[in-house]
């Protein structure tokens, strides 16, 4: 009954398939201000309990794969930039954290310069320097500290060859990161990347002093730069106890509120147990939240019938799209008319219902999520209406030479995730039947499904797919799926439609040069609309996340960046 956001990314030639469950899953946040106040002003003190499914394994800034710095990780690790800790769309903005601003780009956005704030300290009172940020990034290149996103390797000059500080005999580190003085750090990129400030939110940009580095053992006690330090870490992140870092100062940190004295993170719980405990709100659970578990349809039905419980439900959005993907190499999907006919035939209402109903999913006609930061531009090239347009679909099939209908196979996974699961597949099967298309279902075990759908060789003709971005922008949403140069022949391929269109590739390059993120968003939106005409995907729905929190929890903030209740803002007193 739970939903975790799978942030999948193309991986460099090393071909390690990187389909990650990120900590930045889903959601919460109240719609009204009553819930936000929770009946009283926020005050310092108390213990906040976090009840989660997935443990924070390898709690090392080099190894964490996060969006915007993550939730629990961002309590301990500060980064050059971070996400804006505000409700809704404002929360999808990137803001400075350790740095004084979002970075000064060179004219073509290939050189980025950051200056650290004054008075920054670690938990032991020693000052944070730009050399530590550089060293933290270099560590993430070490093979033994793998786990992070591949961008640094792809973007930094020499990043593809650098092996990390442990194998580096020169002792100079990566030449493309310069630290002219203690507060300045300069990045030299191999191509224009206007979205570098978004990347600088990831935990790889956390300062790590070289003298404190213990390699793979560092995760047992990483040096805190944030408001909390790790006091206890049991069973590789299954239980984390965080207490105040006395050397953190709110004066240098505008984003984290840090109300509770102690944060107790307990993981490895079943999602139904988490929701049951939060709804009961007994003992310590009254001051509890979750950062990775949503309400499922059945749980929502129960909660919605209880006024008191319903007031402890937050609603969040996270840039995410569930869609049907075509492989145009497989007949009959090589014919655009067939792909269009299927686009017309889908019944988005029954798909939304299968995904958990209108409170848990919004119908999608665009590939980009329906948020401004992604550059959302409304379009509906093949209007199916709420219930599908089987008549129009039949006409197109006739034109395509399939007068007597068509039999196709739809591949889905057997995971119980309400995303690529059998429920969604049968809803589509039922809708396509009305258009004279007989759909055979092929359900695959989850790992098998992930392997097949991401293999250029074995990719099925039609399958249920989903995509979430590493940060709220059109770039990481469109480029991996539609950039022809990112087709991976052997390894994890995400360009499921094998689109290799020069005009699309060129536009992606052009937008990457823009450092004005708003201007870039508009162009991503326009590009999405243009790609949509090719009918390589049928967007189905964007998930909405509903999350319960304990009855004593106050100051609930849910940004559109993560869709998750922000633990750095929560108060329990």
């Amino acid at each position: 009954m739970s939903r975790s956001s799978v942030i999948a990314r193309r991986v460099a030639a090393t071909s390690v398939s990187l389909v990650l469950v990120s900590g930045a899953a889903a959601c919460a946040g109240p719609k009204d201000n009553d819930a936000r106040s929770g009946g009283g002003k926020s005050a310092k003190g108390g213990t906040l309990t976090v009840l989660n499914r997935d443990p924070h394994t390898d709690f090392d800034p080099a190894r964490l794969y996060t969006s915007g710095g993550g939730n629990v990780p961002s309590l301990v690790f500060r980064t050059l930039t971070t996400r804006n800790r505000e409700d809704g769309a404002k929360g999808a903005e990137v803001v400075p954290d350790l740095a004084t601003d979002l970075g000064k780009p060179s004219k073509n956005a290939t050189v980025w310069t950051y200056t650290l704030k004054k008075g920054l300290k670690y938990e032991d009172g020693t000052p944070i320097t730009s050399a530590d940020v550089k060293y933290g990034i270099e560590r993430s290149f070490a093979a033994e500290l793998s786990g992070g996103a591949p961008y640094l390797r792809d973007w930094l000059i020499g990043g593809d060859k650098y092996q990390g500080p442990y194998k580096d005999k020169s002792g100079k580190g990566l030449a493309s990161i310069e630290t002219p003085d203690e507060r300045t750090i300069v990045f030299h990129l191999n191509k224009p990347e206007g979205e570098f400030p978004y990347l600088a939110t990831q935990t790889q940009f956390t300062p790590v002093p070289k003298s404190k580095d213990k390699g793979t053992k560092y995760e047992e006690h990483p040096l805190s730069s944030g408001p909390y330090k790790v006091v206890k870490n049991e069973n590789d992140g299954e239980r984390l106890r965080l207490e105040r870092n006395p050397h953190w100062s709110a004066e240098t940190d505008e984003e984290r509120k840090a109300y509770p004295d102690v944060i107790d993170v307990r993981s490895g719980l079943d999602s139904s147990v988490i929701n049951q405990r939060l709804s009961a709100s007994q003992g310590a659970d009254a001051a509890a939240v979750t950062t990775d578990t949503n309400l499922g349809p059945a749980e929502l039905a129960k909660v919605a019938g209880d006024k008191e419980l319903a007031s402890h439900v937050g609603t969040g959005h996270f840039g995410y799209t569930n869609y049907l993907a075509f492989n145009p190499k497989v007949k009959p999907f090589d014919d655009p008319k067939v792909r269009q006919a299927i686009s017309y035939a889908v019944d988005r209402s029954s798909v939304v219902n299968a995904a958990g109903g209108s409170s848990l999913a919004e119908p999608a006609t665009t590939y980009l999520p329906n948020q401004k930061s992604f550059g959302y531009t409304k379009y509906d090239h093949f209007p199916a209406g709420p219930n599908g347009n089987p008549k129009k679909a039949r006409e197109l099939l006739k034109k395509a030479g399939h007068k007597n209908g068509l039999t196709i196979t739809l591949t889905h996974s057997n995971a119980k995730d309400f995303e690529t699961s059998p429920e969604i597949a049968t809803a589509i099967q039922d809708a396509l039947k009305k258009a004279g298309i007989t759909v055979k279902l092929q359900g695959l075990e989850e790992n098998d499904y992930n392997d097949k759908t991401h293999s250029a060789k074995d990719e099925p003709g039609l399958f249920l797919a989903h995509w979430g971005a590493d940060w709220p922008s059109g770039g990481p949403f469109l480029a991996p799926i539609f950039d022809g140069r990112q087709i991976v022949k052997d390894g994890a391929n995400f360009n499921s439609g094998f689109l290799n269109d020069k005009s699309v590739n060129d536009e992606i390059d052009e937008i990457n040069k823009l450092t004005d993120l708003d201007a870039a968003a508009v162009r991503w939106g326009a590009l999405d609309k243009k790609i949509g005409e090719k009918a390589l995907t049928v967007p189905l729905f964007h998930p909405v996340y509903k999350r319960l929190y304990g009855k004593d929890v106050k100051n609930v903030v849910v940004s559109d960046w993560t869709g998750v209740l922000d633990v750095s803002q929560v108060a329990v007193k």
Binding site: P297, E299, A301, E423, T426
Partner: protein, 308 residues
Amino acid sequence: MTIFWRRLREQRAALVAAAVVALLALVALAAPLLTVLEGQDPTTYHPDLIDSARGGVPVGPFGGISGEHWLGVEPQTGRDLFARLVYGARVSLGVALAATVVQVAVGVAVGIAAGFGNRWVDQVLSRATDVIVALPLMVLALALMAVVPDGFPRPVLVALVIGLVAWGNMAKIVRARTVTLKELDHVAAARLSGWGPVHIARRELLPALAAPVITYAALLVPTNITVEAALSFLGVGVKPPTPSWGQMLTAADVWYQAAPQYLLLPAGALFVTVLALTVLGDGVRTALDPRAASRLRVGTGRKREARA
């Protein structure tokens, strides 16, 4: 045979169970007819009958029970529950019966061959039976389901897999019985007069084996229904949108609080079926056991045996 029927009829519980089983079989066979009568089918979605904003819970009391939808509708899809339940009976009962036939055929063949064959045949077959008995049924079934190509019709496959995985106990019972029979005079006489083993098996052994085999088979059917349910529950049984009780249970397990009837209906159907078949199986066993009456009534003060 008439004695058997008379003895069976004397047990009221078995009679009721037989009636229930007959009714279930009738419902399963007449599923298309019943759904036409209701005016529904098991796969059509009814989005207007569910509350989308509340997670897709059926609109109306008791899961949306109405004149059109006799048992209400399924959450999230609005598919008719009555239609899915009666069509599900076809899969559940059909698969279970077919699997039992396979188990009886394999079990009897292996059992007789082991009990009646020479030492070598006995050794090989008995060890093979031990292996089959020892292997965890579900694991083996899951593995078999995974390697069979997709095109193969699922209900047949499920029946075959259950049948071919769980014949071990039947073979053991038949072998033990055969070994005892072999020593009896009429079998020994047949052997001495030069009959071939197949002939002896058919004329002398099979009739004597009927009682234990029929008894055990009756008890296998309910077990097989639960195995089918378990396989469908794990997502490797029959494929959607074909309904089966096991599959309905899987989908319903999270809805026990918000839409209880969704879980209770398939669970209740499974319960009634298994109970009826178990009671009937027990009745058959008692009726086939020549000493059952005397054994059961010793010291109870009832004297019905005297009348017979």
